[in-house]
Amino acid sequence: TKFSQLSSPPPNFFGGASRESLKMEPLADCSLLPGEERIIDKDIIYICPFSGALKGKVFITNYRLYFKSADADPAVTLDVPLGAIGRVEKMGGASSRGENSYGLDITCKDMRNLRFALKQEGHSRRDIFDILFKYAFPLSHGLLLFAYLSQEKFEENGWSVYKPMEEFRRQGLPNDKWRVTFINANYELCDTYPTILVVPFKATEEDLRKVCTFRSRGRIPVLSWIHRENQAVICRCSQPLVGMSGKRNKDDERYLDLIREANGTAKLTIYDARPSVNAVANKATGGGYEGDDAYQNAELVFLDIHNIHVMRESLKKLKDIVYPNVEESHWLSSLESTHWLEHIKLVISGAIQVADKISGGNSVVVHCSDGWDRTAQLTSLAMLMLDSHYRTLRGFQVLLEKEWIGFGHKFANRIGHGDKNHADQDRSPIFVQFIDCVWQMTKQFPTAFEFNERLLVTILDHLFSCRFGTFLFNCERARDTNELRSKTVSLWSLVNSDLSFYQNPFYTPESNRVLYPVASMRHLELWVTYYIRWNPRIRQQQQSPVEQRYIELLALRDEYLKKLEELQLSDSSPNSSHLSNSSTPNAASPTQHITHLHTPF
């Protein structure tokens, strides 16, 4: 199988995210992944919002849509994993007038839309529409996600990156206050939690079962992270089932007190991620929040972060002002009206408050409604601020595996992998928002993270692509049922096989340093290189000039060091001076070289 029509490799294949695929089976300029198969190809017109209508050919495989223009110079290419497609629609009808009015309209999950035009004669779009619809949404058509078809092999096995016990041991757990429980080994306590949990030492298995009945979806408070010195902990859970009548549960109250007690914290702080009005409203559906009178040794703080629907609409608005063209008049006001950065600010400042409490030696419990969206954002960001291990390349993978994947952020529902129902109200860019927060932190602390922006973009690309198993399914139980780890490849296999590509040259390890980003709009900025990356006017640099200069200088230093070593070697042993260039005697015209240093104005 070869796309023989095409010749030269595309300049920016796959948005820089998957260099490695170029190494694989060469297929014209679009290399197929192992396990990837061609389905159809067709002459088509791509209505490019930047360069106008472009004639070319489109290729559809079971993994991607690939387009290359025929006569534009330089050639325009598109490489879109089918997983990134959110919606496929027919545009115009057989009788539509006007040029290029008949074709396909594709909405992507990665901040772009694609329009293709076809000839109106002979239902020319029917086959391509059907195929696209089928393969972009395989789960709606009884097909497997591409991750289950991929035959990719990597040097590293990414599934071994995260081992829960190892991670707890790194944190110094279990200890005399906290124990590991296997009560959820068969997902019987809570079907959306991982199998291994850490709970207060004094809480019995029976206690856990009782608490379970009072927490939404059985998501009881469990330990996420412990501060090595002051033993303050971050616990996460879902809302208590207080309801309209204001129910209380002695076991839950006692259990939270055990958490407080573990490091002698006088008052346990409960962070409810929601705006207080929403928390109150939740009582109507049986939920609620911890009341003052019931939880005497706890203080409750609302963090005012909005729900998944608000975030979805916000990102939609953002897309409207950046794609295809960046809003020109009153850009800043338009940006403000999307509220996207305001939401980012609220999430980050919530996490700062959690981290600050922990640094002060106070244990905290974090929840929202179900404890898998806002809660995951807050705990993982706070952990990123507190624990430098999570700022390393592998540590960050552990963080995602633990707080997001392990604790059941509903990736399948939030992203809608392989599902045709684009209007599903469960979809929401919560994880994208979290990665944006991480990006904001890396922007503010450019030397504190071992990984670079490329890693973050790669993660988001494969959040949608369905090429790896990492972000598939809603929870561990579902992953087990579907034998995810044995049948698919982990994204970390790709990343860890080419670590240097994702490394930040400025990284300066500083353990025990707490990072507090500034959650002010003055410092928060739109992540242009992600949200506006399809716009050719945004210069996509492989490396920032600062990074480039730094790497140049590093190389130069090594070169000089080597030279100097050689010179010293030859100086110390005059008999062995052979190097024609560098062994010139010192006496030889030193002035000549000084000019290198003092270049005149």
């Binding site: 729900n307 399948a412 602390f445 600062v546 230093r557």
Partner: protein, 731 residues
């Protein structure tokens, strides 16, 4: 509690005369008295209304005890030559603006002919790395005072102050610092005097001769730092008002000119005579056509610029934290509404248009405006900065400012209104130019030899009345007034020591790799520029007249070429221009970026930004401790220092460096040494302006978060909905 307070108030009022003498005569103040003081201060400010205490002292009585009369007399800053103290007041409380708690330090407040100065009673804590030799962190040069506010944030204007003085005085500075002083603990006489003194010297009209530069220059005699401000435009100010000024020639032969506006056509012959004059002026180097551009048609007026900047600067003159976080919520739209960034964008866009004409169309360009010395200066300097890499070096930039602005007749004195005259139009036009330069620098860092810090310091120096560079309206004005040799701002050693000056160099900058210049020199097309270098470092032979030489040379080169007719293009209409500019930018953008070639700014919304270092440097809540771009740049500087050191060692060995020298040919000085020595200290994002102050390692937690985040217009009110509605499906 409330009743008790009312009662106490009545008691105080009853015994007021007694208490006031008691308080002022007291050498010792104990905590009880402090409470009364607290009450008094609240009375003073709030009249008879609510009695909410507004002041909490964190100073122990012992600290106040140590402040005695005798020691006061010795407390003054190190005075500069020619500096005279006008008045002073002791026991002034300077609030530390960092937090809400109204805490502060006591000290002496002075007003001299150079500055307003606060000398703390406490020992100075630590030496700042980036110390200004002329004024310290608690000094405000008189011309740097922007506004003074009294109680209830009432704006004080000169002339209206009689016998009153406020208990609290807030001073906003032109370099964005904010000082808050309480005068309620000082002797009434002193407080009155210092307040009136400051208001008089900072806000009321004065004569030019009163500016400190004159006393300073007469009293300083550093042989090394004399500067002959030799500028090279021929003739005087009047010349550039009526005539045409040649700014710069593109290597293709076309050139940029500027002039004051052509008078509107009244009678037939008037404009023609004028045109003829202009024609003669450029006839010698004429080819192709000339595009004229009246800047006042498309760019904002100096009044617009002032208005917009006045709104803009308010976002950074922060009195307290709450206010700051309140304004944070509407930050983007406020920024948008003040229009400052848009003015920057417009200036850059206009410059790109001119660049396009010169570079792509090879036509001459004549820019004009009323007076010819405001936006003409902005645009002409920006054009040259974009086209000619020389102007992106430290020395080149200096000469650009010197020729386009100082010699070009920008009315610095009127525009900064140092004299507080009512009939002058104040406007931060020069700052606007620096802002535009900053945008370019931000987008294309490695193209500039000077750093962001250099630009920030330059923008501050406009308000330091020691230098005569930015003190006059034009050269004629200067010559008529200056009999003594004076200090140019470019002699940075007057303000900073060598180490601090190292921070003016950009570690990302590399010189252009040298080609075989000796061979190609003769026929390679080159830009032509005026080589005016008035600087302390390079003394120019007096009155040699660079311009004349250069101009003659130019005439020789161009005289042989065909003379074409004037072509007056209609003033460009904006939608078309903007799309043409966009195409020009896009075409340029697809080519590989050459930092030593043409440089164009991206003008898209997200690309025009706020000059963080300049505007946020004093605001505690937004300092990123251990972060910000400086964290990266300092690492670059560090490694650059190492490379340079290695290079020196290799040179000592007489080793010829054959490899790529790109990285290793920086200026002799870099910031490497400075920063490497400091690498143990965690730098904050406002480095070098606030460096080693020991701030509490507590994060700033935004207050008033949700007030404005009212999610509206959501279909079916999504904000109130549950995250996950129905029953769960796990897969």
């Amino acid at each position: 509690m409330f009743d008790g307070r009312v009662l106490l108030k009545q008691v105080i009022l009853l015994f007021w005369p007694l208490i006031s003498t008691w308080v002022q005569g007291a050498e010792k103040i104990d905590s009880c008295q402090l409470q009364v003081l607290e009450m008094l201060s609240s009375l003073g400010s709030a009249g008879g209304k609510s009695a909410k205490p507004s002041f909490v002292s964190y100073v122990t009585p012992e600290e106040i005890k140590s402040e005695k009369e005798p020691s006061r007399k010795e407390k003054h800053p190190d005075l500069l030559p020619g500096e005279v103290v006008f008045c002073s007041a002791s026991t002034v409380l300077k609030y530390t603006q960092d937090d809400l708690s109204q805490r502060g330090v006591f000290g002496v407040l002075l007003c001299t002919n150079f500055r307003v100065s606060f000398v703390s009673d406490e020992e100075p804590t630590e030496e700042m790395l980036f110390k200004n030799k002329l004024y310290g962190e608690n000094d405000i040069p008189l011309s740097c005072v922007d506004n003074i506010y009294g109680d209830k944030r009432k704006l004080i204007t000169g002339g209206l102050v009689k016998n009153k003085y406020p208990s609290k005085m807030i001073i906003h500075c032109k370099d964005l610092r904010v000082f808050q002083f309480s005068l309620s603990f000082s002797k009434e006489e002193d407080a009155k005097k210092i307040f009136q003194g400051i208001v008089h010297h900072c806000l009321e009209p004065k004569s030019l001769r009163c500016l400190f530069a004159f006393s300073y220059c007469e009293n300083t005699s550093y042989p090394g730092s004399y500067t002959v401000e030799n500028t090279s435009y021929p003739g005087s100010y009047s010349y550039c008002r009526e005539h045409l000024m040649w700014c710069w020639s593109h290597h293709s032969g076309c050139a940029l000119f500027k002039t004051a506006s052509i008078p509107l056509v009244q009678e037939d012959n008037v404009p023609q005579t004028y045109m003829e004059k202009m024609l003669t002026a450029v006839a010698h180097n004429h080819l192709y056509s000339v595009k004229t551009e009246d800047l006042s048609d498309t760019l904002p007026t100096v009044q617009d610029i002032l208005l917009s900047y006045n709104k803009f600067k308010q976002f950074f003159l922060i009195d307290n934290t709450t206010e700051f976080w309140m304004s944070d919520m509407k930050w983007f739209s406020s920024l948008d509404n003040c229009g400052w960034l848009d003015i920057i964008r417009q200036c850059l866009q206009k410059a790109v248009e001119v660049v396009e004409s010169l570079e792509k169309e090879n036509t001459n360009v004549l820019i004009m405006e009323e007076g010819g010395s405001d936006l003409c200066c902005v645009v002409s300097s920006l054009v040259q900065l974009m086209l000619d890499p020389y102007y992106r070096t430290l020395l080149g930039f200096q000469s650009l400012v010197q020729k386009e602005w100082v010699a070009g007749g920008h009315a610095f004195l009127d525009r900064s209104n140092h004299l507080h005259l009512k009939d002058k139009v104040e406007s931060p036009v020069f700052l606007l130019f620096l802002e535009c330069v900053w945008q370019l620098q931000q987008q294309h860092g490695p193209a500039f030899q000077f750093s962001e810090t250099y630009l920030t310091v330059l923008s501050d120096s406009v308000h330091v009345p020691v230098f005569t560079t930015f003190l006059f309206n034009n050269d004629g004005h200067r010559d008529s007034l200056l009999r003594v040799k004076t200090h140019a701002v470019w002699d940075w050693s007057v303000q900073f020591d060598c180490k601090a000056q190292d921070l003016f160099t950009n570690p990302l900058y590399t010189e252009k790799p040298k080609q075989d210049t000796s061979v190609r020199k003769s026929y390679r097309p080159r830009h032509l520029r005026q080589l005016s270098l008035p600087s302390s470092a390079f003394k120019t032979p007096p009155k040699k007249g660079f311009f004349k030489d250069e101009a003659d040379n130019l005439k020789k080169i161009l005289g042989v070429k065909r003379l074409s007719r004037w072509m007056l293009s209609p003033s460009s209409d904006s939608p078309q221009t903007s799309s043409s500019v966009r195409e020009f930018y896009e075409a340029w953008q697809t080519k590989p970026l050459d930092y030593h070639g043409l440089l164009l700014p991206c003008l898209d919304g997200p690309s025009i930004r706020v000059w963080m270092q300049r505007y946020l440097r004093w605001i505690h809540d937004v300092q990123i401790l251990g972060g910000g771009p400086v964290a990266m740049l300092s690492k670059v500087s560090e490694i650059l220092g190492e490379v340079q050191e290695l290079q020196r060692q290799l040179d000592r060995h007489g080793c010829t460096l054959t490899s790529n020298h790109k990285g290793a040919r920086p200026r002799a000085k870099t910031a490497a040494a400075v920063i490497a020595a400091r690498s143990s200290v965690r730098l904050s994002s406002s480095f070098p302006f606030v460096t080693s102050r020991n701030w509490a390692f507590k994060p700033a937690i935004p207050t008033s978060l949700l007030q404005s985040l009212m999610v509206t217009g959501m279909p079916g009110n999504l904000a109130d909905r549950e995250d996950d509605g129905g029953p769960e499906s796990l897969v």
